[in-house]
């Protein structure tokens, strides 16, 4: 049977940590195991032999190298912790400045890139897509990152008789910016479309004569109402007809207003008028009567009694009579009425719409688009003249054939 021994007890026996009584007790218990006892005594002898091993001399060159290292360390210390700390502080300051400068440069570059992508450097009020004559790599990168976001920046550029350029989003009525700058996107569009990924199939030019109608609107209190007010105030001189005392605004408008009298507010038409009228992005469409009424109603609602608001509406020439009819219809607002004076046409010009029909030679989704997606516009809005041959094409083929249409307008 194998006996179990206390390892700690045996170790203490070997190392001489037992008291004489404990030692004698253990030896007495191991009397019947002389081999084990001899083993323990041999281990005790091993320990003594190891303990008595002579300590050899270490080679001198060990400490030579150590002393050299130590001297170097002491020399570094002799320069002083103060010097070191000053140097460390200076290094930290320089390192911190360098780090902050790097961060600032990084943010600046990032801001410039993002800013140029969004607004460009030239005209802060207009998206870069309308100002750059050549497509920039940044714009391409932005387009790759988000084609939808790129498409949102794409604009229709139109020139109006007043010289204003209105940038429109793809959806009708979404106004992005108004700027008096000439339309420069034309060059960009040409440059982009000059890439060999498209093929010009056809070009349709439509010239639409448009006229600008200038009118002055003022809110006028009727003579009866003015008499009632004057009677209440008791300030009117006796015998003077109230009807002969027109409202100051009315009087100003009736007295052949100067081009820019003090009481005339020049209203930018695109700020107040419905999109389909003011923005002229659908000049080929006939203005509906409802749109004309809405335009006039908005102008009348904005009319004020203390000033004359001058509007300039630009409509296709054939719609001018209908506009005049709408403007001459009386509009009453409570005890007041709105009068349009000096209704006259100022300029007549022609808006030319050039429609280019190109075929995509590469996948349009692989590259950012710099022009609106007119595929849907053509399908949904533009009643393109279809030839007999095209009508024979089945609907599936028409859908699968990618077509890009670009509008270029010039006066």
């Amino acid at each position: 049977m194998t006996k179990q021994y206390d390892e700690q007890l045996l170790l203490d026996y070997i190392e001489g940590n037992l008291s004489p009584a404990q030692r004698a007790d253990l030896e007495r218990r191991l009397q019947d195991q002389p081999q084990m006892l001899r083993y323990l005594r041999d281990m005790t002898g091993d320990r003594e032999a190891l303990s008595n091993l002579p300590e050899p001399e270490a080679p001198a060159w060990i400490m030579d190298e150590v002393d050299r290292r130590l001297e170097r360390s002491m020399l570094l210390d002799f320069n002083g912790p103060g010097v070191d700390s000053v140097v460390d502080r200076q290094r930290n300051v320089v390192r911190r400045i360098a780090m902050l400068s790097g961060l600032a440069a990084m943010f600046l570059i990032t801001g410039l890139v993002v800013g140029y992508s969004l607004w460009g450097f030239g005209d802060p009020g207009m998206p870069v897509a309308q100002r750059s004559d050549t497509p920039s790599s940044t714009a391409v990168a932005m387009g790759k990152a988000g084609p939808e976001a790129m498409a949102a920046n794409q604009a229709v550029v139109q020139s109006k008789p007043g010289g204003a350029m209105v940038a429109m989003g793809k959806s009708a009525g979404q106004r992005l910016a108004v700027s008096p700058s000439p339309p420069r996107l034309l060059a960009k569009a040409d440059a982009v479309d000059a890439t060999p990924d498209t093929e010009l199939l056809a070009e349709a030019v439509t010239a639409v004569p448009v006229m600008s109608v200038e009118m002055d609107a003022a809110r006028v209190m009727p003579a009866k109402a003015q008499a009632m007010v004057a009677e209440a105030e008791g300030a009117q001189p006796a015998g003077q007809s109230l009807a002969q005392q027109p409202d100051p605004a009315m009087r100003a408008s009736q007295s052949k207003l100067a081009p820019y009298p003090d009481n005339v507010e020049i209203v930018v038409q695109t700020d107040d008028l419905p999109s389909s009228v003011a923005q002229l992005n659908e000049v080929t469409r006939n203005l509906r009567a409802a749109e004309l009424r809405e335009t006039v109603a908005m102008s009348k609602a904005a009319a004020r009694s203390d000033a004359v608001r001058r509007y300039t509406l630009t409509v296709p020439a054939d719609q001018v009579p209908a506009l005049f009819t709408q403007l001459r219809q009386p509009l009453r607002d409570g005890n007041q009425r709105v009068a349009f004076n000096r209704i006259e046409t100022t300029t007549t010009t022609t808006v030319t719409t050039r429609t280019r029909i190109v075929r995509q030679l590469v996948d349009g989704n692989a590259w950012p688009r710099t022009t609106p997606d007119y595929n849907q516009i053509i399908i949904e809005q533009l009643p393109l003249p279809e030839t007999q041959r095209l009508q024979e094409v089945d609907a599936a083929r028409r859908v699968t054939m990618p077509v890009k249409v670009e509008k270029v307008q010039a006066q």
Partner: protein, 211 residues
């Protein structure tokens, strides 16, 4: 019994205080006092004087480089031996890998060249002037060294720190970075392994003598 410390406890405490106040001269004195013991430990660990000198120098250099890491929580000797043991065990492992690669590479025909080199190194460090030792004692020492060389590094380190350096269990535990109970268990196993190796060496030597 090996001396506990080459410096008096009071002198060592004084030097440690100077060292912690930034006096590198105190470090030089401490290293000078301990370097012989460190070399002895490395020599018994590695059984090769050249390797022992190289490892000792490496350990002392590391002590200079990392003296800022010595916080005075333990004795300076304990901290220094910890470095020396780490360097020695790393050296032993590298040498073991090299030997394994060499054995794999060489054919069995030319066996003995490396072993002969080790034996020469062993004999050279055993040829120390020991006029008081008898032949029997010298044979006993040689057997002990050969047996010690067969122990694995951790067991060898523990038994050398205990018997050669005279450290107590707590100091050994601090050097080896293990609990005291582990040190005791490891120490007993090391003694058993050493005894078995001694028996085997004795039997092998007896066979050689019989031949």
């Amino acid at each position: 019994m090996a001396p506990q410390s080459p410096l008096s406890p009071e002198r060592e405490r004084q030097l440690v205080r100077q060292l912690q106040s930034g006096d590198r001269g105190a470090l030089g004195e401490l290293l000078g006092a301990y370097h012989r013991r460190v070399y002895h430990q490395c020599l018994r660990m590695l059984s090769n004087p050249d390797d022992a000198a190289e490892v000792t120098q490496d350990a002392l250099t590391k002590a200079i480089q990392h003296v800022d890491g010595f916080k005075g929580d333990s004795r300076f000797g304990t901290w220094l031996f910890r470095i020396a043991m780490n360097v020695s065990i790393s050296h032993l492992r590298r040498r073991k890998v090299r030997q394994a690669a060499s054995l794999d590479k060489q054919a069995s025909a030319d066996t003995g060249s490396d072993q002969a080199a080790d034996l020469k190194a062993l004999l050279s460090q055993r040829r120390e002037p020991q006029p008081d030792q008898s032949v029997e004692q010298r044979e006993q020492v040689e057997l002990l060294m050969a047996a010690l060389d067969r122990l694995e590094a951790n067991l060898k380190g523990v038994i050398l720190l205990r018997d050669l350096q005279g450290m107590d269990y707590q100091q050994i535990a601090d050097v080896m970075g293990v609990p005291v109970g582990t040190i005791k268990s490891r120490l007993f196993r090391a003694r058993l392994a050493l005894r078995e190796a001694m028996v085997q060496q004795d039997q092998a030597a007896g066979e050689v003598r019989d031949d």
